[in-house]
Symmetry: C2
Subunit: 225 residues, 2 copies
Amino acid sequence: MIDYISLKRCPVFQGIDEKEASLLLEQVHYQIKVFKKHDIIALAGDQVKNLYIILKGSVSGEIHDYSGNTVKIEDIEAPRPLATAFLFGSENRFPVTVVARNDVTIFSMPIDDFLKLLHLNTRLLKNFLNSISSRAQFLSRKLNFLSIKTIREKIANYILQKAGDRFHSIELKNTQQELADLFGVTRPSLARVLSEMQKEKLIIIDKRTVTILNKEKLNKLIRNI
Amino acid sequence: MIDYISLKRCPVFQGIDEKEASLLLEQVHYQIKVFKKHDIIALAGDQVKNLYIILKGSVSGEIHDYSGNTVKIEDIEAPRPLATAFLFGSENRFPVTVVARNDVTIFSMPIDDFLKLLHLNTRLLKNFLNSISSRAQFLSRKLNFLSIKTIREKIANYILQKAGDRFHSIELKNTQQELADLFGVTRPSLARVLSEMQKEKLIIIDKRTVTILNKEKLNKLIRNI
DNA sequence: AAAAAAATGTATCAATTGTTACAAATAGTA
DNA sequence: TACTATTTGTAACAATTGATACATTTTTTT
């Protein structure tokens, strides 16, 4: 029997208690798979035939370049599910190669069994729909952000979003280089615009602290008035 | 009673025959709404309270930059559903403004009723999961596309994707303005780059037909070699 | 505390794209 | 066909960003 403590931490199983879960899991097939560091869990292009949930450890999603170089796309840690947005849909294949970053334990259940569970339990269905929707929403927000054209607007957007409604200053957790990557611009370009915005007294930057001097103008910037 | 012919063409209702469908639809509430060209169907930020399926016509999903610029994200045509990925999830709001591109008829059903249907019918559930997944997959591809920086690369990418492996020429279905919106650039800029690429004998454009002259170079462009 | 590494500020010049404007070509319609 | 609206081609100039380089500051390591 599976250790349900890890599983219920996963968003998909939230709000379902152990008794209910064990009743559900009795009716379907599932496996617990163990991988060691650097093991390949799935290859890019492989069909996704199972729901995977990482119970322990973390994996890395990688793309292998034409010249054999490896580009890391993202890390996924327990207790997150894997590639839920690719379980169904027209192209249900792994978009990346999944590699174990350390010792990894994975809960695996065939799609059809999972579908059965979704039918048996409303909470599970709602959870899963929420999970997959949130993923799409995340992508959509990313898309919105990328469609902002000028660096200045991106900065305003980023700062105001971080600041929320209440605060005058925010603490940056990233280096300029990381921010620049996030914005999809070069580091010197970002620094230049930050510096301009300081000269215009929109913000003050002191080390990693950004203080908002003129919230109105920042807002107008976003709205491009 | 609704004309089921349009509805069953929608991926969500695929494989469900008229008898079955009418039995299902009897148990829930739904509406048919009609819009004219340029009507706003939903504003970005509006809560998604209903499942929408386009029965007739087509709509455009747009981000309105505050300076009045419009970035078209995509066109959705009958019989596709609308914003399915935003029915659930933490932020169930329209990510884009939805505008009618012509005379549009839309089928609308409250979320709770729809959830009820998902429980009643496995095929429907599977269809819906497929739909929402495809959506996430689409967004993911879109994100990749938007992260391409130069117009030249975007064009190469677009043309090669349209062309697939076999053909030497493709037929554009969009005006330059629509393409430019899709790319998130201005129309003259797009035209300029297209013209340059013609001069460099990468492509030939005759009216709406684009002929690929140098596939290798186009490929290299994408891969940034 | 000293040395090394990383991050930041800034400058210059090149490349790309935006803005605006207008003529030419094409498509749509009476 | 003739007229109109839409689409396309192109040009000149402005604005933004990229690329590169290097000094300075800050952080991390020894």
